[in-house]
């Protein structure tokens, strides 16, 4: 059984991302374009704030009575012939899906984009069972061809330029090089069309599950989610327990904000309402439909009154686009299917292992909280996770020693700051002493023991003539 890959040290991985200037260029241009689109659709939609507040209220209500809503959803789905499986862990979910695929005699699986199946590392498990898995979302297809994980929740290949993708297609398919997105898309369409028509199992994620009607809602733009749930004989939907909403009338509140924040669209191209296998006489739809409802750490989040808020997330990816850390190091540095601010709070709960470091990978600037369509207080949750991590005496980072050093440094500085003349004098001396280490006004590599600082951050060179504003008490 393939477990999710154990991440390398975050600091090492993020340094690699931070050093990649080409990656910055791609991330900055994609994020800027995204935020521009979002600002446009946000500005022309006056009820946005009302919808946001409504969505938040519905999530609070739904999560507070998750137990009854899941029972209602399950009953409705089963009444229409769906097989519903509750998986307590990622391993249980993988085993169930693999067994269902084998039982159906599936040789080839087409997948719509699904973060939850990334979370449970489904693809390696199916591959081990001798079943071919093909990602059909264009971005996912591209990263699968490169044999790497997605680097963004919404835009999996955000770290690649059109030239990268052109070279990839040329090398993999032996076709003539082109970097025109239209031609590359047409190439993928033609190849995947054949695969769709011959696949015997489809797997997708779920955006919302309506308890009242027993309906799974899957939103997408390409038509691959629609095909994966319509054409193969067997269809498996995989969802976290937190995806359930009480009523059909709740759905528009979410749809009105999800596409706007996720992609800057008013609505995605396709909104699929899926509620069971095909009925007698129907041409389309699966003969057999399974719904896998995954816990995998979520009920523990529910039990933590602070952490619970993270279950309101609708996976729009907006917090990634505004995050200065994400934009600097890229998604792969997080070594989790869920990168960025939201990834830093859910990964320690859902993935575990080295992702315990991730809550420390934030400047707590609050841009994520501001853009979050369901107003999750991400900085607060990051601090909460940091606190928990320290409280259990973790070695995720060398915390107690570092904290003690920081504290004693701050105390020393506080004493020094009471003597403006001394501090000015020391500043001038430091400027002279550090001059050999300075370039373009920045200290990038200081001698020990200050090296620990410059390993992670640059420091502005102290200027010998620059006077610092020092406030004296009462002055």
């Amino acid at each position: 059984m393939a477990a999710p890959p154990e991440p390398r040290d975050f600091f090492e991985a993020s340094s690699a991302g931070a050093a990649d200037r080409e990656l910055h260029r791609k991330l900055e241009s994609a994020s800027a374009r995204h935020l521009e689109h979002f600002a446009e659709v946000r500005a022309e939609f006056s009820p946005y704030e009302d919808e946001r507040a409504a969505a938040r209220r519905i999530k609070e209500d739904a999560i507070a009575r998750l137990d009854e809503l899941l029972i209602e959803l399950t009953k409705k789905l089963e009444a229409r012939g769906c097989k519903v499986f509750f998986a307590a862990t990622a391993a249980e979910a993988r085993d169930y899906i693999t067994a269902a695929a084998k039982q159906a005699g599936a040789k080839r699986v087409v997948k719509g984009k699904s973060m939850t199946t990334e979370e449970i590392a489904l693809n390696p498990a199916l591959a081990t069972a001798g079943i071919e898995v093909i990602e059909t979302d264009l971005g996912e297809y591209i990263v699968q061809l490169r044999n790497e994980p997605p680097s963004h929740i919404i835009t999996p290949a955000i770290h690649l330029s059109k030239e990268d993708i052109g070279a990839l297609f040329r090398d993999k398919f032996g076709t003539e090089y082109t970097d025109e997105p239209e031609k590359l898309t047409a190439e993928a369409r033609a190849r995947l069309r054949e695969i769709f028509l011959s696949a015997d199992l489809g797997v997708t994620g779920v955006n919302f599950a309506i308890a009242e009607t027993g309906t799974l809602v899957v939103v997408e733009n390409e038509g691959n989610g629609r095909m994966s749930s319509t054409l193969p004989e067997v269809f498996i939907a995989v969802m976290g327990i937190e995806k359930v909403i009480p009523k059909l009338a709740d759905l528009p509140h979410f749809l009105e904000i999800l596409a706007r924040t996720a992609t800057g669209q008013k609505l995605t191209t396709y909104t699929n309402f899926i509620n069971g296998p095909r009925r007698h006489g129907e041409v389309d739809g699966p003969r057999e439909m399974h719904v896998v409802i995954l816990d995998n750490g979520r009920s523990a989040m529910l039990a933590d009154p602070v952490m619970r808020e993270a279950l309101y997330c609708i996976r729009c990816g907006a917090c990634l686009n505004v995050c200065p850390v994400y934009r600097h190091i890229g998604g792969h540095a997080y070594r989790s299917p869920y990168p960025g601010p939201i990834g830093s709070i859910v990964s320690p709960n859902l993935i575990g292992g080295a992702t315990a470091q991730l809550p420390f990978a934030s400047t707590l600037c609050g841009a994520c909280k501001e853009i979050c369509p369901v107003k999750i207080d991400i900085p607060r949750l990051l601090l909460h996770l940091r606190w928990k991590e320290c409280a259990r005496g973790s070695n995720a980072i060398q915390w107690p020693a570092a904290a003690e050093r920081a504290r004693s440094g701050a105390r020393r500085f506080a004493r020094l700051a009471r003597h403006p003349r001394t501090i000015r004098l020391l500043g001038r001396l430091a400027a002279i002493a550090l001059r050999p280490f300075s370039s373009d006004g920045w200290l990038r590599r200081m001698p020990p023991p200050l090296r620990n600082w410059t390993k992670i951050r640059d420091f502005p060179s102290p200027h010998p003539r620059k006077r610092r504003a020092v406030t004296t008490p009462g002055g």
């Binding site: 791609k26 994609a30 995204h34 919808e51 409504a54 209220r57 209500d61 507070a64 998750l66 899941l70 509750f86 307590a88 979302d137 264009l138 971005g139 591209i142 835009t155 955000i158 059109k162 997105p181 898309t185 047409a186 369409r189 028509l197 309506i210 009242e212 009607t213 027993g214 733009n221 390409e222 038509g223 691959n224 629609r226 095909m227 319509t230 327990i241 059909l248 009338a249 528009p252 509140h253 749809l255 008013k266 609505l267 995605t268 191209t269 396709y270 309402f273 899926i274 509620n275 129907e282 041409v283 389309d284 739809g285 409802i293 816990d295 009920s299 523990a300 039990a303 933590d304 619970r308």
Partner: protein, 230 residues
């Protein structure tokens, strides 16, 4: 169901460990309101603008006869030899089928399939069509969306597999916004039939966030608003 009860028991414990704060009032009905005096013409022009904004093509508000003629024209201009025509909602699809046939175009009419062989054959015939014609149950002006209900004679693949899609919708089924469309569909329909909201042709922005139309689904979407003479 045993697993379900185990998990639900765990959720109950979790909820009791950390009870929610004071009960918030339930969500209000959608804040998006239908303008009471919105005229059909206004809705139609909003719909047309929004549809074109998502790379769809608005073929106009036409009478039923004009609509049939326009469909034949589209099939000709797209150089299509085979067209799949799904069952109508307000309009008689057999009229459309007859007009296409007399224009020398082969028509595929989806019908209930009794066995796997018939099903495979029907699917292959739909996949072989150059254009799928379907009638929507509702349309949404604010987003340029059409709401399709699937069934035996209106398969989902009709607006998914053929490279071009043409959808008609009756003018009085055009509503202002998403909340109104969802309310019009209602829980009963959503619980029993497959519903698909379609907003423009299939698209992606996965390569450098540049929008490309025509990924897995149709490369084009034409919509006719059918406006009977009163």
């Amino acid at each position: 169901m045993a697993e379900l009860h185990k998990i639900v028991a765990r959720l109950k414990t979790a909820l009791e460990t950390a009870p929610a704060g004071k009960k918030k009032p339930p969500a209000q009905p959608s804040a998006v309101r239908i303008a009471p005096n919105a005229q059909r013409a206004e809705l139609a022009s909003t719909f047309a603008r929004e549809l074109e904004a998502v790379a769809g093509r608005f073929l106009g508000s036409l009478t039923p006869d004009e609509a049939v003629a326009r469909i034949v024209e589209v099939a000709r201009e797209r150089n299509v030899r085979t067209v799949a025509v799904g069952e109508g909602v307000e309009n008689d699809a057999s009229v459309i089928a007859a007009a296409l046939t007399s224009a020398g175009i082969t028509v595929v009419r989806p019908a209930p399939v009794a066995d796997p062989a018939a099903r495979a054959a029907m699917r292959e015939r739909i996949a072989g069509c150059g254009l799928g014609v379907a009638e929507a149950h509702y349309a949404i002006a604010a987003t340029g969306t059409v709401a399709m209900l699937s069934g035996e004679t209106r398969p989902n693949s009709l607006t998914l597999v053929p490279p071009a899609s043409l959808v008609l919708v009756q003018i009085d089924r055009l509503v202002a916004n998403l909340a109104a469309a969802v309310a019009a569909l209602g829980p009963e329909t959503v619980a029993t039939q497959r519903v698909t909201l379609i907003t423009g042709p299939s698209r992606t922005a996965d390569i450098e966030k540049r929008i490309v139309v025509g990924v897995h689904g149709p490369k084009s979407l034409d919509v006719i608003l059918v406006w009977p003479k009163e």
